[in-house]
C-alpha cells in the first residue's frame, strides 16, 4: 500500500436548510483499499459521497488527489480526476446496448465527436468484460434492460473502469442483489482492488461490510465518530454502538403511563401482500399504547401500515379493529372503524397545498359525517380549537397550506386525523423534516393521547424516537417481523442488530423474545 492517500478530503461541510448533513468530516482513501462509510439513515453518508463526486457542492472543505489540491464542482470534473460513483438508482439508459452505455461520455470513442465507433466500442466492452471473466455471460450488444440487476450493477462499475477511475464510490451496491450476485460483484471489486483501484462503499448490510472492507469511517448526525480506522479492530457490537450510541435526553417528555386497562384495539393476522413482499405478518396493538415499527428503509413498515389502513390492498390475511373485521382496501371503512393515518409524505398524500388551512384541517371529519352541506360554523370552531390545542402557528386559516412551515403542516395533518376522533392513530414518520421544537410538541401530544386510551402506531427510522416515545417496538426486516419487544428491554444496539441481521447480536439478548429468526 502506498504511503500517501489517493484521496484526501479534509474538513468537509454541507448544510441543507436547517440540517447540517455533513459536519467537519475528513476521509482518507488509499490505493487498493475498500473503505466502508457507515451510519444510520440520514447520518450523512450519501451526502458525503455526493460532495466528493461533484453531484453536490460542499459548503467548505478541501479535496486533494494524490497530493494535489483539486476543485470538483461537477460530476464531469470528478470523472476527469478519476472519481466515479455508482448509485442506487442507475444512471443509465435502459434500452441502449451495453457498449453504448459504457462509452456514453467518452468523446474519443465518437467519430468526429458525433457517431459512436461501434466496432471499437464493442471490442473494448468485450475486453472489459473479459477482465472479469464475464465475456461469456454478457453480450455487449444486448440492451441494458435485458440484463439482471447485478449485471447492470457490474456494468455501472465497468463504466467507472472505462473512465480509468482510481476511486469508485458505491452507494448501497448490494441493496437489490441476491447473495450469489453479491459474490459476483465482490469478485469484480477484489480484482480491481488488486490493480490499485480504491473503493468507498456505503451499505446497511453489516456482514458484507465486514467481508469486503479494509477501513471504516462512521458518521452520526453528520459528524465523524470513527475516521478511517482498521476494520479488523471492529466487531458488530462496536460498529452498532458507534453508529447509534448517542445520549438520549428527556426530549420526549414524561412517560405518562395510561390507564391499567389494556384492550386489544388492532389485530393483524397473517397479512401477506405486495406480491409476496409482506410475509405473514401478525401483531396486536393495545389501547393506551404507543407501538413503534422500526427497521431499515425498505423493510416494509410503510407498506404494512398502508395495507392496514386500506390505502393499498393486500393478498391475504385479516385486519381486526376491536375484534371486528376491517374490509381491505377502503380508507373510508378504516376511518369509520376509528383509524386515522398520517402518511410519510405529507405533501403528496396528506395536504391540499393550495387550499385553505381550514379545508385541510376539517376535510376528513366533514367527509365522514352525514349531510351534503358544509357545517361552516363548526368547521371554524374545530379549526380554532385545533390550532390552539396543537400550538400550530397559523396566521390566517384561510391561507393555503403551503404557506405553513413543515412542522406546522405536520400539525395540520395530525389535527385533521384527531378531528375524526380516532381510536387508533397510525403515524408514518411523523417527525420527518420538522424542527426540534415542533418534534417535541408532537411527542408530548402523542403521550397525552395515549394516556387517554388511544392506540398509537408509529413508523420511525429514528431510533432515539422509537426508544424515547414508544412503549413497545416491533422490528421489521425484508417484509417480515423479526422482533417484538417492550421498549424497556430494548436498546439502539439491539434494535439495529434485529433490523440488520434479523437477530440480536452475539452476547446481547437482554431477555427479549425474537420472532421468526
Amino acid at each position: 500500500m502506498a504511503p500517501t492517500p489517493i484521496l484526501r478530503a479534509r474538513n468537509m461541510y454541507k448544510r441543507y436548510g436547517t440540517v447540517q448533513a455533513v459536519n467537519n468530516v475528513s476521509l482518507d482513501v488509499y490505493p487498493g483499499e475498500v473503505h466502508a462509510l457507515m451510519g444510520e439513515n440520514g447520518a450523512g453518508k450519501s451526502t458525503m459521497s455526493k460532495i466528493i463526486t461533484g453531484i453536490e457542492t460542499p459548503d467548505a472543505g478541501t479535496v486533494e488527489l494524490e497530493g494535489k489540491r483539486v476543485v470538483i464542482d461537477t460530476p464531469l470534473t470528478a470523472i476527469e480526476h478519476g472519481i466515479s460513483i455508482v448509485m442506487q438508482e442507475f444512471n443509465a439508459i435502459p434500452h441502449l446496448p451495453v457498449y453504448e452505455n459504457i462509452f456514453l461520455g467518452h468523446k474519443e470513442m465518437y467519430k468526429g465527436g458525433v457517431v459512436l465507433d461501434r466496432r471499437r466500442a464493442v471490442r473494448e466492452t468485450r475486453e472489459l468484460l473479459a477482465l472479469f471473466g464475464m465475456e461469456e455471460q454478457i453480450d455487449p450488444s444486448s440492451p441494458l434492460n435485458t440484463l439482471s440487476v447485478a449485471e447492470q450493477q457490474i456494468i455501472e462499475i465497468l463504466k467507472a473502469v472505462a473512465y480509468k477511475s482510481k476511486i469508485i464510490f458505491l452507494d448501497e451496491p448490494t441493496a437489490s442483489l441476491t447473495s450469489k450476485e453479491v459474490g459476483m460483484l465482490f469478485k469484480v471489486i477484489r480484482r480491481l482492488k488488486a490493480e490499485g483501484v480504491a473503493f468507498v462503499i456505503i451499505s446497511h448490510r453489516f456482514n458484507e461490510i465486514f467481508e469486503i472492507s479494509d477501513k471504516i469511517t462512521v458518521l452520526r448526525d453528520g459528524l465523524p465518530v470513527v475516521e478511517g480506522e482498521d476494520m479488523s479492530s471492529f466487531d458488530e457490537q462496536r460498529l452498532v454502538r458507534a453508529m447509534v450510541g448517542r445520549e438520549i435526553t428527556d426530549f420526549f417528555g414524561e412517560q405518562a403511563r395510561g390507564t391499567a386497562e389494556r384492550r386489544c384495539m388492532l389485530k393483524v393476522e397473517r397479512l401477506c401482500g405486495r406480491g409476496g413482499f409482506l410475509k405473514d405478518i401478525s401483531f396486536e396493538a393495545y389501547s393506551g399504547e404507543i407501538l413503534g415499527l422500526s427497521g431499515l428503509v425498505g423493510a416494509g413498515r410503510s407498506e404494512l401500515v398502508r395495507c392496514i389502513f386500506g390505502a393499498d390492498g393486500y393478498d391475504s390475511g385479516r385486519v381486526l379493529v376491536e375484534g371486528r373485521l376491517l374490509p381491505k382496501g377502503s380508507p373510508r371503512r378504516a376511518i369509520r372503524a376509528g383509524i386515522g393515518f398520517a402518511t410519510e409524505n405529507r405533501k403528496e398524500e396528506g395536504l391540499f397545498l393550495n387550499l385553505a388551512v381550514l379545508v385541510n384541517l376539517v376535510f376528513a371529519k366533514t367527509a365522514n359525517r352525514r349531510g351534503q352541506l358544509l357545517p361552516h360554523r363548526s368547521e371554524v370552531r374545530d379549526t380554532l380549537d385545533m390550532i390552539d390545542r396543537l400550538g400550530a402557528r397559523v396566521a390566517d386559516f384561510r391561507l393555503p397550506a403551503r404557506s405553513l412551515s413543515g412542522g406546522n403542516q405536520q400539525k395540520v395533518v395530525l389535527s385533521k386525523w384527531l378531528l375524526t376522533e380516532p381510536k387508533i392513530l397510525i403515524l408514518d414518520e411523523p417527525t420527518r423534516g420538522i424542527d426540534i421544537l415542533a418534534k417535541s410538541e408532537i411527542y408530548n401530544l402523542m403521550r397525552s393521547l395515549a394516556a387517554r386510551g388511544m392506540c398509537i402506531v408509529i413508523v420511525s427510522s429514528e431510533l432515539p424516537e422509537i426508544l424515547g416515545i414508544c412503549d413497545r417496538v416491533i422490528v421489521m426486516k425484508d417484509g417480515a417481523i423479526v422482533g417484538d419487544m417492550p421498549v424497556s428491554g430494548a436498546s439502539e444496539e439491539l434494535i439495529m442488530s434485529y433490523a440488520s441481521f434479523g437477530k440480536a447480536a452475539q452476547g446481547r439478548t437482554n431477555g427479549c423474545e425474537g420472532v421468526g429468526m
Binding site: 380508507p331 373510508r332 393550495n354 367527509a367 349531510g371 351534503q372 352541506l373 358544509l374
Partner: protein
C-alpha cells in the same frame, strides 16, 4: 373624521378582497378597462342594441362555462361541451317536432346531455382514462350523431310557444332567461362553496390521493363534474333552439374553446384546485367584449381569432407566474 374612518375601513376591505382574489380582480379590472376603451373608441359600442347583442352572444358561453369550470377545477377538461350542446339542441328540436310536446323535447334534451356527461365522467373516473382523450372522442361522436340525426339538414318551424321560453322579458331587452342564468350562477357558486360536492371538486384538483385517503369515493366524485357539464350543455342547447325556433346541425361547433378560454382567463388553473365561478363570468364577458369590440372596429374575423388565441395563452402564462410566486 368619521367619513375618513369609513373610507379607510372600506379601503381595507377592498384591499382584503384584492389580496384574497388577485386573479379575479386582475381580470375584472382588465374587463372594465376594455369596456371603457371600447366606449371611447366606438360610439356604437355602448348602445342598447349592441349591448343586447353582446349579452345574447355571451349567454350561451356563460352556461357552457359553468360546467367547464367544475371539470377544470378537478384538474380535468371537457372538450365536448360545444358539440354536446349541438347534439342536445338537435335532440330537443327533433323530439319537439316528433312528439308535438315541448315538455318532452326539453326533457329529452336535458337527459341526453346528462347521459353524455356521465359517460365522459365514468370513463375518466372509473376507467381512469385521460379526460382530454375521452372528451375529444365524445366531441367527435356527438358532432356526427348530430348530423346523423337530422340527415345534415336544419330543423325549422318549431312551435312559436317554444320561443316564449327565451323571448318573455322582464323589461324590454332583459329576457327572463338572463335572470335564470344569473340564478344558475348563484346556485352553482353556492354549491361550490357550501356543499361537500363543491369541496370535493376542489380537493380532487388539488390532491386526489389525499382526498381518497380521507375516505372520499374519488371515482364517483370525478363523474359528477362531467355530468354537470353535460347538463349545462343541454340547457345551453335548448335556449339556442328556443331563440331561433330552428336547429342547425352546426350549432355549438368550436364553442368548447370559448368556454375553456373563459374559465382560464377567469383565473382557474388547468392543473385543478383553483378557480371560481365569479372569475369565469368575468372571463366570459371579457371574451365577449373583445370579440364584439373587434367586430365593430372592423377587424377581420381571422385577426379576431389570433387575438383570442393570444389572450388565452397570456392568461395561462399569467396564471403560471402568479402561482409560482406563491411557491
Amino acid at each position: 373624521m368619521k367619513a375618513k374612518a369609513v373610507l379607510a375601513a372600506a379601503g381595507g376591505r377592498i384591499k382584503g378582497i384584492i389580496s384574497n382574489n388577485p386573479s379575479e380582480c386582475g381580470v375584472g379590472l382588465s374587463t372594465a378597462a376594455l369596456f371603457v376603451i371600447l366606449c371611447v373608441v366606438s360610439p356604437y359600442f355602448f348602445t342598447p342594441r349592441n349591448m343586447s347583442n353582446v349579452v345574447s352572444q355571451v349567454a350561451i358561453i356563460a352556461i357552457l362555462a359553468i360546467g367547464e369550470t367544475f371539470v377544470i377545477l378537478t384538474g380535468g377538461i371537457d372538450l365536448s361541451v360545444g358539440n354536446t350542446m349541438g347534439l342536445c339542441s338537435m335532440i330537443t328540436a327533433y323530439t319537439i317536432m316528433g312528439s308535438q310536446s315541448i315538455a318532452v323535447g326539453i326533457l329529452c334534451g336535458i337527459l341526453s346531455g346528462i347521459a353524455i356527461g356521465t359517460v365522459n365522467g365514468l370513463l375518466v373516473g372509473y376507467a381512469r382514462m385521460p379526460a382530454f382523450i375521452v372528451t375529444m372522442g365524445m366531441m367527435s361522436i356527438t358532432r356526427n350523431a348530430d348530423y346523423l340525426l337530422c340527415g345534415g339538414r336544419s330543423i325549422t318551424g318549431l312551435p312559436e310557444r317554444f320561443g316564449t321560453l327565451t323571448s318573455a322579458s322582464l323589461v324590454p331587452g332583459v329576457p327572463y332567461y338572463y335572470i335564470a342564468i344569473l340564478l344558475l350562477y348563484m346556485l352553482m357558486g353556492w354549491m361550490l362553496s357550501n356543499t361537500k360536492l363543491g369541496r370535493y371538486t376542489y380537493a380532487l384538483g388539488s390532491n386526489e390521493q389525499a382526498t381518497r385517503l380521507c375516505g372520499v369515493n374519488v371515482k364517483f366524485q370525478r363523474v359528477i363534474p362531467y355530468a354537470i357539464s353535460g347538463l349545462m350543455s343541454s340547457l345551453a342547447g335548448i335556449i339556442l333552439v328556443s331563440r331561433f325556433l330552428a336547429c342547425d346541425p352546426n350549432y355549438g361547433a368550436g364553442n368548447e374553446m370559448d368556454a375553456i378560454a373563459a374559465v382560464v382567463i377567469g383565473g382557474a388553473s388547468l392543473v385543478g384546485g383553483k378557480g371560481t365561478l365569479i372569475g369565469t363570468v368575468i372571463g366570459v364577458f371579457l371574451m365577449g367584449f373583445i370579440k364584439n369590440g373587434l367586430d365593430i372596429i372592423g377587424v377581420s374575423p381571422y385577426w379576431q381569432g389570433v387575438a383570442v388565441g393570444t389572450i388565452i395563452i397570456l392568461a395561462v402564462v399569467i396564471e403560471r407566474i402568479t402561482s409560482r410566486k406563491k411557491g
